[in-house]
Amino acid sequence: MPKKRLTDQQVEEILDSLSGMEKAEPRPFFYTRLQARMANEADNSAWGRTISLISRPAVAFSVVVLFLLMNGYFLFNKFGQQPSPAEETYQALAVEYSEMNSPFYEVNQETP
């Protein structure tokens, strides 16, 4: 079945369907809405910039990687860490205390 084609006249009619058209106007109070938007954008500009910076995939990915690296660094440093001076003092006191409670002192005690 042969396909129907538009006649040249029909095509021209469609192409000329915009002739005599009027110009469109925005809804009333366009300036008021524009002012409200500008005020809103001025208020949110600092926060908006911060949020858009943080939400960038490259920035978010870098922050996550940095966080993981810092975790790894602290975790591995924990194993190789020397005891702190405070811990050494506690250990020395503990040793001294246990020596004072040793049976050696009890053996050499004078009885009245």
Binding site: L18, M21, L34
Partner: protein, 190 residues
């Protein structure tokens, strides 16, 4: 107030000048943008962006072209930027389902009719606007500025910017392409 006085007042940051600019040129900007984006709500948003851009960058206007020509350029550029952004969103629509991040539908209603079209021509114009969307960008701009905004070839050439001969050629090729698109459209409809 002449264009030069208006520009000087805008450069001085006078709010009253900005109000005059918006109230006298809102139709020009909105009609141009609407012809390209083919959606009333999007056209309103983009038109607002145009005036914000003008407000922020009027100091860069050197007066090498007429102020109205510069305004048309900002409007056309903003509309095209919006369409490109929308196209990118549509490419990722399979990830974000039918609705985008702002929960607005990404798919335009297919039946755009410019509100200024005469009642008798509405059905034909609906088909024509769908066909215009399929034109290459330069042809679409030239055809829309000439047919929808009613600019002369010289004015279109100033806005694009190119020569009058180039505009004539663009509009001639746009008409040829539209004829092909319309024939194909009606073949599919049968």
């Amino acid at each position: 107030m002449t264009d030069q006085q208006l520009v000087e007042a805008l450069k001085a940051g006078e709010e009253s000048a900005f109000r005059v600019l918006v109230e006298t040129r809102q139709g020009l900007v909105y009609n141009t943008v609407l012809g390209l984006v083919q959606n009333a709500e999007d056209a309103e948003d983009v038109s607002q962006e145009v005036f914000i851009k003008v407000f922020e960058s009027v100091r860069q206007f050197k007066g090498e072209s007429a102020f109205t020509t510069w305004l048309y350029r900002v409007a056309v550029t903003s509309a095209l930027e919006f369409l490109r952004k929308k196209k990118r969103k549509k490419r990722f629509a399979f990830l974000t389902s039918l609705f985008g991040e702002d929960q607005s539908p990404l798919h335009d209603p297919p039946d755009f009719v410019h509100p200024g079209v005469q009642l008798d021509n509405r059905e034909k114009a609906k088909v024509l606007f769908q066909a215009i969307q399929k034109l290459p960008e330069n042809q679409r701009i030239a055809f829309t500025l000439h047919k929808v905004e009613g600019l002369s070839y010289q004015e279109v050439a100033d806005v694009m910017p190119t020569t009058v001969a180039a505009v004539e050629s663009l509009i001639h090729r746009a008409r040829q392409n539209l004829k092909k698109i319309l024939q194909d459209y009606y073949k599919q409809e049968i």
